[in-house]
């Protein structure tokens, strides 16, 4: 049951063996993996939109969409048909190359990351030995596509939303990259499969440094996906729709798809790095992976339904003044963990981290405003 997909793939390859030459078999194997991801990505995104609408609806004390198909299960198809049939409006002064390429270039990194996610035991797309660095590198190219979208639209609100979005994304990339350094230190490798197998005895999120790193990575991932509470760049009540204001129809659907695929991959990576990936007692490995990923996605949707939006200076202040020093102290704490043993390392690491968290939150408190003095004209 655990290896059902791996078995299916090898049986298919054996069926094809008499027909194809040797290089054809390798090509067929690669194409099968790519086809699985190319189908999995958009289908995931479609059902994530439905999940979000129903969960946010329940949090707002209403039922989500339930007309199209039982429990609204065919709603994504209705949404797809709507987006495909909308008119594709390109603004007159827009730069045609930039305006056209931006939605394409934003989906490409979101899809490329699916290749390094360990979906189950032996079910990674490509087991690169720099898997984690590949994830970080490819997801950092999303900023270029957002620039292209905001600049090519020739719209002041687009430009403003795009600049804010890029500033937010590059600010939150740094704590994200630094917060996975402890995981790399303890697991000893950048390959996602090796990191999952290094958690066979103890999940990294159960250790003090791992817990802090997990929370920081998750928060930075939510910020990278431009989701609430970090969704100032696309806030409807403030900036129309930010960098994707001037996009309609299928191009908007591509932006939407990229955002949801990004949130899936960030949750999946978080589950891989900190929550033990596909490890678990009873269920098959791919079921555990999906369970952990979807519970993190549920937490993201929970954030959206509950928390108000950050103000832009609070947003940047959180990244640079709070999360960045905390990640650096986390790296120091994991060094302490590595060189000690037993109860000393648990108490020591927890002590260092709790103390630094408390100090940073005290240092980052807004100053108390002075009492105002009113002077009236006499």
């Amino acid at each position: 049951m655990d290896q059902i997909f791996v078995e299916a793939k090898s049986r298919t390859l054996e069926l094809l063996k008499p027909f194809l030459p040797e290089w054809g078999l390798i090509l067929a194997s690669i194409l099968m993996s790519i086809k699985v991801f190319a189908v999995l990505g958009p289908v995931t995104m479609m059902y994530l939109t439905l999940l979000e609408r129903k969960v946010v609806g329940r949090m707002q004390n209403r039922i989500g969409p339930n007309r199209v198909g039982k429990w609204g299960l065919l709603q994504p198809f209705a949404d797809g048909v709507k987006m495909l049939t909308k008119e594709d409006i390109v603004p007159a002064g827009a730069d045609p190359v930039l305006h056209f390429m931006a939605p394409v270039l934003i989906v490409v990194p979101a899809l490329l990351v699916f290749a390094v996610l360990p979906f189950g035991r032996g079910m990674t797309g490509v087991d690169l030995n720099i898997g984690l660095l590949y994830f970080l590198a490819v997801s950092s190219t999303t900023t270029i596509a957002i620039f292209m979208a905001s600049w090519g639209s020739r719209n002041k609100f687009s430009l403003l939303g795009g600049m804010r979005s890029v500033a937010q994304m590059i600010s939150y990339e740094i704590p994200m990259v630094l917060s996975v350094v402890p995981v790399i230190l303890i697991a000893g490798s950048l390959s996602t499969n090796t990191i999952v197998e290094a958690q066979s005895s103890l999940w990294f999120a159960a250790t003090p440094w791992g817990f802090f790193a997990f929370v920081i990575f998750f928060l930075c991932g939510v910020a990278e996906c431009n989701r609430s509470p970090f969704d100032l760049p696309e806030a409807e009540s403030e900036i129309i729709a930010g960098f994707h204001t001037e996009y309609s129809g299928m191009k908007f659907a591509l932006f939407y798809m990229a955002e949801f695929m990004n949130s899936f991959t960030v949750s999946a990576m978080c589950a891989t790095l900190f929550l033990g990936g596909w490890q678990g007692p009873l269920l098959p490995s791919w079921a555990w992976f999906m369970l952990k990923t979807y519970s993190l996605i549920f937490v993201m949707i929970w954030f959206r339904g509950t928390l108000p939006r950050f103000r832009v200076d609070h947003l940047m202040g959180l990244a640079w003044k709070f999360l960045l020093p905390l990640t650096m102290i986390n790296i120091f704490a994991v060094g302490f963990w590595y060189f000690n043993a037993g109860i000393v390392r648990w108490l020591g690491t927890a002590g260092i981290l709790v103390l630094s968290f408390w100090t940073l939150s005290r240092l980052n408190q807004d100053y108390v405003l002075e009492k105002r003095v009113y002077r009236f004209a006499d």
């Binding site: 030995n129 590198a137 950092s140 620039f147 292209m148 600049w151 600049m163």
Partner: protein, 170 residues
């Protein structure tokens, strides 16, 4: 398996050709944003070449740093310093013909030298470099340049902020 080798070789030559076209676009396109995008194309092409040369860590670092950070900075500054009448201006200055001739002569001489040199073949094939080897080298043999470059980057950070700051009104 020979066919796969041929396929990979063809793909590498195609990537090299596309990178050269993108580099030509970088220096010749009048619209600055388009030329920045062409530079991103060249950087991605050279990241693929790094992968072909078994330098996978460096390929990922090139995409993370160069494309993700340096080009973002360049595009930010392009967007901040754009003037409306820049699009109709010609982007070559008065010495373009002399520069073209000089560059072609330089290229010709360089290629001739490369083709003439008998590059020594190593006795045994070079072992591929692992990420852990790079880490050990950075902390072992190359620790002094590592520390120096951290000081340089600190100086760059402080310097860039100081230079680009707006002056406070008196």
């Amino acid at each position: 398996m020979n066919e796969l080798q041929w396929g990979v070789k063809l793909a590498l030559y195609a990537v090299m050709g596309l990178s050269i076209i993108a580099a030509l676009g970088t220096v010749m396109l009048p619209n600055l944003f388009h030329s920045a995008l062409a530079l991103i194309g060249v950087l991605l092409g050279s990241a693929v070449i790094f992968l072909a040369l078994h330098a996978d860590f460096l390929a990922a670092v090139q995409i993370l740093l160069y494309v993700g950070a340096v080009m973002t900075l360049v595009i930010f500054v392009i967007m901040l310093t754009e003037r409306l009448n820049d699009k109709t201006l010609v982007q070559r200055n008065s010495q373009s013909i002399a520069a073209a001739i000089a560059s072609v002569v330089f290229l010709f001489l360089t290629v001739k030298t490369i083709l003439k040199t008998a590059w020594p073949v190593p006795a045994s094939p070079v072992p591929p470099v692992e990420v852990s080897d790079l880490g050990a080298a950075l902390m072992g043999e190359f620790v002094f340049p590592f520390e120096v470059i951290s000081v340089i980057l600190l100086a760059t950070l402080v310097g860039a902020i100081v230079i680009a700051k707006k002056d406070k009104p008196a």
